[in-house]
């Protein structure tokens, strides 16, 4: 189908539109979470959805994360396609058993019986002064669990395409949405069959000098840095994995073969982060022999996210960190 018509909307509206379209398309899709009904979601994401779909499909739950996730797994295994919202990604810790021990493993552990087509929406990231228990980026935890899929959109169009693909996927998909992107505007395909393939890595900006692999809000900081560097004649290739697990490494490996230089960046704490995994896979691949400089990992500091605005910003890599990283790789610093 031709994807021509685009409409400008926010990241938040794009997620809502994606969910709404899927709920209209498939009666088995239900939506559960805390304060998603009349309240419209803690971030206003589900405003108006209760009116359209009613309480049977837009289900306010008690504050009971373990039961929300477990219920979603059970419902998914028996024929529904639940989408559930953790108010903050941090709260997934309370639902970990159902996700990790039950949902992720069920299909394999039962020898191919029972699909678990559920989506866990996880608002993540710092930048809102929400403090240590409401600002984490815990994607690396989820990427460590075989059976889960972990995706994270960086633009409104990606948000719509991915939430729809996630709902249609027959596996538990962790959909990590960055809180600081909710108000970001962008053009989104109007087509209700528009989806973004899960498990596909995207080249966001072509270049030949240095490869930057990043996702989430940092993608935008990387693009800013790339624009700055372009004025100096440095062409940075930016790659957004979009699907963090299972990750499509091919475009990353190809890019590193081309540039010989790699920066991997994420907001989450550096130690044990997804970046380390990407780097390890690059080094294991044929790209190793093309590396012409040490790899740089930009990650969040290994600290809980502090409250103070300046301190909070200091934890997360910024645009200049990308610029200096590129300089370093090109021996310009």
């Amino acid at each position: 189908m031709e994807i021509n018509e685009m409409k400008k909307m926010t990241y938040r509206d794009a997620i809502r539109l994606g969910m709404t379209e899927e709920m209209r398309r498939d009666d088995d899709v239900i939506f559960l979470g805390e304060d998603i009904g009349l309240y419209g979601g803690a971030f206003g994401l589900s405003e108006g959805m209760l009116d359209e779909f009613g309480e049977a499909r837009v289900m306010d739950t008690p504050i009971t994360e373990a039961a929300i996730v477990g219920t979603a797994v059970g419902a998914a295994a028996t024929g529904l396609r639940p989408v559930c919202e953790m108010m903050f990604m941090d709260f997934i810790t309370l639902g970990m058993d159902a996700l990790v021990n039950q949902g992720a493993k069920m299909h394999y552990m039962f020898g191919g019986q029972a699909a678990v087509p559920m989506v866990l929406r996880l608002p993540a990231g710092s930048g809102s002064g929400a403090g240590a228990q409401h600002s984490q980026s815990l994607e690396a935890w989820l990427c460590h669990v075989p059976g889960l899929k972990v995706v994270t959109p960086s633009t409104p169009a990606q948000a719509k395409g991915l939430i729809k693909a996630a709902i249609r996927d027959n596996n538990p998909v962790c959909f990590i949405e960055h809180k600081m992107l909710y108000k970001m505007e962008g053009l989104v395909p109007v087509d209700d069959e528009f989806t973004i393939e899960i498990g596909k890595t995207f080249v966001e900006r072509p270049g030949k000098d240095v490869t930057i692999v990043t996702y989430g809000t940092l993608l935008h900081k990387a693009i800013e840095a790339a624009e700055f560097l372009a004025e100096e004649g440095i062409e940075v290739e930016i790659i957004n994995p979009v699907t963090l697990y299972p990750m499509d490494m091919k475009p990353i490996v190809e890019s590193v073969i081309k540039t010989g230089r790699l920066i991997v960046a994420h907001e989450a704490s550096k130690t044990g982060g997804v970046g380390g995994e990407i780097v390890a896979r690059v080094v294991e691949s044929e790209a190793f022999d093309y590396l012409n400089a040490p790899i740089i990992r930009l990650g969040g500091l290994d600290v809980p996210i502090p409250y103070n605005k300046e301190l909070e910003a200091a934890v997360v890599p910024q645009r200049n960190d990308f610029v200096h990283g590129v300089y370093r790789l090109l021996n310009r610093e």
Partner: protein, 320 residues
């Protein structure tokens, strides 16, 4: 008291015998080193496992526990495939990938035994939500042990099931020990069914060795849940003859206690009932027992002859 037909009694007795022989065979195979995984035997708990499942209607669902062989046999799982799974064979329910802890037959409503104590409560809520949403009229029977009721998931699940009026019957097989911890030490109430009060749902405590009581209470409870009135919590007091797992030295209890419970053995009580009420002749009873025993021996043969899974299957079925 609900009337029991000869047919249902026959099925009950046959399956309880199957369950008993199954566990004895597993114990035997484990000692011979043929079963890889440690096993959690349900000898002594045949009545709760089998009889409660026989109270289900066709299409109802069940979530089992780690001590789930009797429950699975009661639910109608094929003993051949169960035994094959325990031996890790390709013909097992999970193609050798699950083992005793994860025997499941999802298509037929068994959403799986669970290795996580307390893991099944919230899954049952989900399965029940599907029934409610799709208006199937089916009920979920959620098995759990006494220890699991101290998990947060028990309370979250009961609360959610209560407020959403989900069609679930929670059946707690209270075998008096959470591994080695006696109930008196792990909770400060006498009956687990008391916990239902917090969620404003019916809570009942029954004798888990008495098939008549189990069948009666379960049938009524399932009817209550099916009617859309919400979940029910049933506690059945029972006893396991074996240790928690095959490595349990059972230092926490004495032989006298085991012997006391063996006098109330559910199979013994069943056969006494059959004799007293002259339901079946001795010969018929003997035939039922023999048939059950043969079926398990066949299951072992089937499992032993079954192929090991291909090594390449290790990468299959990660994603649906």
């Amino acid at each position: 008291m609900i009337e029991l037909s000869e047919e249902i009694l026959l099925r009950m007795y046959y399956k309880m015998n199957q369950a008993r022989f199954f566990e004895e065979k597993v114990e035997d195979l484990f000692e011979k080193g043929l079963i890889y995984e440690t096993t959690y035997l349900s000898k002594g708990e045949e009545a709760t496992g089998v009889v409660s499942c026989l109270a289900l209607e066709k299409g109802d669902l069940a979530s089992l526990t780690h001590r789930g062989h009797s429950q699975a046999i009661g639910f109608g799982l094929d003993v051949n495939m169960m035994m094959a799974e325990l031996l890790g064979k390709a013909t097992g329910y999970c193609k050798g990938k699950g083992g005793s802890l994860h025997i499941a037959d999802v298509e037929n409503g068994n959403i799986g035994a669970n290795g996580i104590v307390g893991g099944g409560f919230t899954l049952s809520c989900g399965a029940a939500l599907t029934q409610k949403y799709k208006k199937t009229g089916k009920v979920v029977l959620c098995f759990a042990g006494d220890g699991a009721t101290n998990e947060g998931s028990f309370h979250e699940a009961l609360n959610l099931a209560s407020v959403w009026k989900l069609p679930i019957v929670f059946l707690i097989e209270n075998n008096l020990y959470g591994m080695s911890m006696p109930v008196s030490k792990h909770m400060n109430i006498e009956n687990i069914s008391d916990r239902s009060a917090s969620y404003n749902i019916p809570g009942l405590t029954i004798d888990g060795t008495d098939f008549l009581e189990i069948y009666d209470v379960m049938t009524k409870s399932l009817r209550y849940a099916r009617a859309g009135r919400g979940p029910v919590l049933v506690e059945a007091k029972t006893y396991r003859y074996n240790g928690h797992s095959s490595s349990d030295a059972q230092v926490y209890r004495n032989k006298e206690e085991v012997q006391k419970w063996q006098k109330k053995d559910p199979l013994l009580r069943f056969v006494n009932y059959l004799h007293e009420n002259r339901v079946f002749t001795d010969k018929q009873i003997q035939t039922i027992e023999d048939e059950a025993k043969t079926s398990i021996e066949h299951a072992v043969e089937f499992a032993m002859e079954s192929p090991e899974p291909e090594i390449t299957t290790v990468l299959e079925d990660i994603y649906a």
